[in-house]
């Protein structure tokens, strides 16, 4: 007999009422639609329809509060930490690969096979981490993730410190986040009265719309993109609703510049 999960417990032939409604509420997941009326069965537990809805509402609110708190709790820090480990794994893969090539040039052996296997495993791990970053970022900052993807968004969060701080940054700062060294080098040269070219882009250079443009147009695109990121991060921080027009607008600007 199939067990159906409903918010107030489990139902097969009989109803097994949950002793903790708040935790059973979001566990009411089934793999096919429920073939009976939830309300009818619920009334058997709660006594009347009025009581059923009163309990349902109360449970939904309390369970919702709990889930929201969990979802919003320092999720941006989590994404940033994941990104750091992603970079570390990347580096390890590169280093190990290099060493492997050196060894294989001299001699293939059982050990090199194992090493190759381990590197493949690391690659898998890398993909897992990247997927998790995408998922977390799409929840914490839907607009940034829509525009930039998870990895670049997490990179910006890392440089800024948190979503809150990123939302407070001006677009001009966002544009060169991650290019601090070359910015200060340029500033130092300027101070001495020499010719200097300050950086056009930092982390956002990784974005395909900046990277793939001809050199002379990247600055324009970076400036535009940074302005939109400034808006997106503010929306993400204060309201969290997705506004697809932002990512449309950068696409249009990119197509304009491509011509």
């Amino acid at each position: 007999m199939k067990k159906w999960k409903v918010w107030f417990g489990e139902i097969d032939e009989e109803i097994e009422a949950s002793d903790n409604l708040v935790s059973s509420f979001y566990a009411a997941i089934n793999d096919e639609p429920i073939p009976f009326s939830i309300v009818e069965r619920g009334v058997q537990i709660f006594g009347s329809e009025e009581e059923y809805y009163r309990n349902l509402r109360k449970t939904a609110v309390v369970a919702g509060e709990k889930l929201v708190e969990e979802e919003l709790k320092r999720e941006d820090r989590y994404a940033v930490m994941l990104l750091k480990s992603l970079d570390q794994v990347d580096e390890s893969i590169n280093l190990l690969n290099e060493k492997l090539r050196d060894i294989v040039e001299i001699k293939e052996s059982k050990v090199t096979d194992i090493l190759r296997e381990k590197i493949d495993e690391l690659r898998e791990l890398r993909n897992e981490i990247e997927k998790e970053i995408e998922l977390v970022i799409s929840k914490v900052c839907p607009n940034l993730s829509e525009m930039l993807g998870g990895v670049i968004s997490a990179g910006l969060l890392e440089k800024a410190g948190s979503l809150e701080r990123l939302a407070m940054l001006p677009a001009s700062t966002i544009q060169i986040l991650g290019a601090e060294r070359s910015l200060f080098r340029a500033k130092a040269r300027m101070k001495k009265g020499k010719v200097a070219r300050p950086p056009k882009h930092g982390i956002i250079f990784q974005h395909k719309y900046v990277r793939t443009l001809p050199k002379t147009k990247r600055g324009k695109m970076a400036r535009f993109l940074a302005a939109k990121i400034a808006i997106a991060s503010k929306i993400d921080y204060f309201s969290g609703e997705l506004n697809p027009e932002l990512s449309d607008s950068i696409k249009h600007r990119f197509e304009e510049l491509l011509r």
Partner: protein, 216 residues
Amino acid sequence: MRLNEVAHNLFIIEEGKQSFPATKSKYPPYYGERKYGNLREWIPYRSKFAAMVMNGYMPQIMNDWKVLYLGAASGTTLSHFSDIFDDGMIYAVEYSAKPFSKLLKLAMERKNIIPILRDASKPLEYSGIVEKVDFIYQDVAHREQIKIFTMNSNIFLKTNGCGLIMVKARSIDSTAEPQDIFNDVIGDFSSNFKILKTGNLEPFHRDHIFIHLVKG
């Protein structure tokens, strides 16, 4: 000021040359709308349902309906639905945690809202919560808007139940002509549902249409 009741608790206020919808409510303003006595102004620029009413279409509704609202966001439209379906129950599904936390505050105040923090494209994840409903209202900015509605109506909508979908062309495909997308969407729906009415939401929301349909 002249009042014209178009549905239960839903009025069109005419004031000089201006006219706008409003709902009868004993609750205070929720998103910065004005209040006229016990009427809450319903701003068509903020809510697609209000824009549809402004454009002259009012679907048949009953105030004791059970409603499934997909994409409730922070609860702007929902607060008016709560006024209209005052004898019914509204299951409000929203995926994003930030706006949902605002929606929770509304749900605490009102007696007929069940807030659910879930992804509308995975209806089985809330199949143990939502009952069979008379009406599904959908306003999600998602590429798979049509699929989401079809899945949800298969599971939750009663036979002869109604649906109202606010279709946003730009979130289905931002490069194609909106009119082409609308034609495709209407074609897709008409194979499974009986379409009662479609129309645009200009000038309040650009590149949007509403589709009112019945599960036959």
